[in-house]
Symmetry: C2
Subunit: 389 residues, 2 copies
């Protein structure tokens, strides 16, 4: 069994099938999740920066102090649903508090935008999930938040004196510069709220904020981190170690989201090195990661370095053509100009590997940033041209 | 016969087939174009803002004062080709001057990145095109600069006392915030160079800088405007009228580029109105125009207003969900929340029209901006995953 959030000491999960999705397609998987902590605990959160925020985001953003967990549904995003949407999100959280007899709950939703939640079904599903608290283990909580995902996403790290476990969902409408998709992470490490917040923000920059599938920013993205506090105490001195462990778990989840990118057949790791500043490295990596021409070349296993170099320039972060060096899978393709290389060999490397390494050295400094992206395929078009219909 | 740049008084065009494209596929169309003016004349230009600029761009950017025309090739972009590329671009311009016995020439290239120009062939083609000067009429000059374009793009406007005619190419790697693709425009109106420059910049903002196909910015984009001066004199008093005519021609060409977007089946006109500032309107329209989810929904004829509203928010320009009103083809779909409408009717409108009107009223002010985009289809993926291979 793959471990996830349910295996963190102090965490109990329960799931239920409520038939929340409008199309009612029974997928043999749950669509409502309750993550509960035995005692109220500190939490940290990052949210989408989209101007249009879904109701559960607005409601969760108001929560301060300690919480007793998270209630989330898939199949309906409860976004662009006006005052009724807000009332529904508040009710989801309150009902979960009442039925568990615990403190406040955070709330999250994912799915189709613009439909009101079928609250009758949601209420029943919450009641059932609460009744089942403690039964959902391993991948089960992650399955309850899947939409177009093709596999559940979990990660778990056993560290000295504490564990960190998380789940995530996301396959399309994935773009960083925000909190990105749903990810629920818990640790039994005991941290002050401020330190917890700092750790989440730092780890988020290099994980969920360093991936893209299609450049589309969602209305519902959020990452929650709960600290049950049953394990080791983490103070300022232990912060560095903790944040590295947290990054490991979050990067693992972020990787799985890109791997499950809608229609994706390949993950590309875009590593920009030798940058003057970290921002330069990040923006150049991001522009390459977003380029449809790079993403289709990746699908076609075409070592089309011209598109990568052009995308790097399009970032307008001051790259210098003559200084750039580009490698794909370790093969040098470009060094201020085209170099001699065997195109067939590089194409073969791209064909044979599900993960393609693209390294661009700007030769301008010492900073670096790595971005993950996936290829753009026929299936991306099929999934998104046919979704809803 | 469709009129284009060759029909502007004072302009002569010649084309030739040089076999410049590496793959040597004989397409029964020319790949070299010379546009010559009878007398040296003032010009205005806008260039790509990509940090990585092709050799012909670098060479043309150095040209000041009057020119005698333009020499351009398709099939090879002469980009990322180092010092040799610069030397080749300079030679193209000089050879054209020598063979025509006229003044300086601007130079432009479009095609595959990173291959050196086959200069033997280019020289022969220039010689032939110069010999044929005056013979290429109507769509013929536009055909010489096509790459993945499926039709030649020309526009012509007869105004009082002068004409404006132009040609353009472009189908992929199209993204604004730059000069965008190749477009060569001429007028016989007589303008001071400063006024010509001002007119080009102004018209460019609403034409080539208001379209996108795939968000990929090219290394080779440029727009040249020549003024042969044989017609009416345009001073500050006539400027407004002239710039409107120029906009008409340039918008016409820009529309054709989006219509011919790689794999595109539909053009969407994204009109953002009621914005606080023009910048807000433009950035919101641009974000919607770039969204792969909006573009695939367009392909699927799915009136998925949620994706449009989410993209508007993702622009992070301060839109307010509760104030937004969205119409597709005149049908109201969203007014601060979902409204009752017949989804089948809107889907039918989308299916039956090659051009889809999307109007988003932000209800925050009086500014507006219109962006053109096309749908994202299987064929876009096919063309770009298979190009070069």
């Amino acid at each position: 069994m793959k471990k996830g959030i349910a295996e963190v000491p102090g965490i109990e999960c329960g799931v239920a099938f409520g038939g929340i999705k409008k199309t009612e397609k029974k997928l043999n998987r749950p669509d409502l999740l309750v993550v509960a902590t035995k005692e109220p605990c500190p939490f940290a959160a990052v949210y989408t920066t989209n101007d249009v925020k879904a109701a559960p985001i607005k409601v969760s953003m108001e929560v301060k102090g300690k919480v007793s967990g998270i209630v989330a549904n898939s199949g309906n995003a409860n976004a662009c649903t006006g005052e009724r949407g807000i009332a529904d999100a508040i009710e989801m959280a309150k009902l979960t508090s009442q039925l568990t007899g615990r403190g406040r709950f955070l709330v999250a939703s994912t799915g189709v935008i613009g439909e009101p939640l079928p609250m009758e079904r949601v209420r029943k599903a919450i009641a059932e999930a609460v009744k089942n608290l403690g039964k959902a283990k391993g991948e089960e909580p992650a399955r309850a938040i899947m939409t177009t995902d093709t596999f559940p996403k979990t990660a778990f790290k056993e560290a000295e004196g504490y564990a960190i476990g998380g789940i995530a969902k996301g396959a399309g409408m994935i773009d960083p510069a925000m909190a990105t998709m749903l990810a629920f992470i818990a640790t039994d490490a005991k941290l002050e709220p401020e330190l917890l917040e700092e750790a989440l923000k730092e780890a988020n920059e290099e994980s969920f904020n360093a991936i893209t599938v299609d450049g589309d920013m969602s209305t519902n993205d959020c990452v929650f981190l709960l600290s049950t506090g049953l394990g080791r105490e983490i103070g300022r001195n232990e912060y560095g170690e903790f944040v590295e462990n947290l990054k490991e778990v979050m990067k693992n989840l972020a990787y799985q989201i890109v791997k499950d990118g809608e229609g994706a057949t390949k993950v590309a790791r875009i590593k920009v090195i030798g940058a003057k500043t970290r921002e330069q490295a990040r923006e150049v990596a991001r522009k390459i990661a977003l380029s449809p021409l790079v993403k289709t070349a990746l699908f076609g296993c075409d070592p089309n370095w011209g598109r990568i170099v052009a995308a790097a320039g399009a970032a307008r972060m001051g790259v210098i053509e003559e200084k750039m060096e580009l490698k794909i899978g370790g093969y040098l393709l470009f060094k201020g100009g085209k170099v001699d290389y065997r195109e067939e060999e590089v194409a073969k490397y791209m064909k044979e590997n599900d993960e393609v390494e693209i390294e661009l050295n700007l030769n301008l400094g010492k900073e670096s940033f790595t971005y993950l992206t996936c290829d753009l395929t026929y299936d991306y078009v099929r999934i998104n041209a046919e979704y809803r219909t």
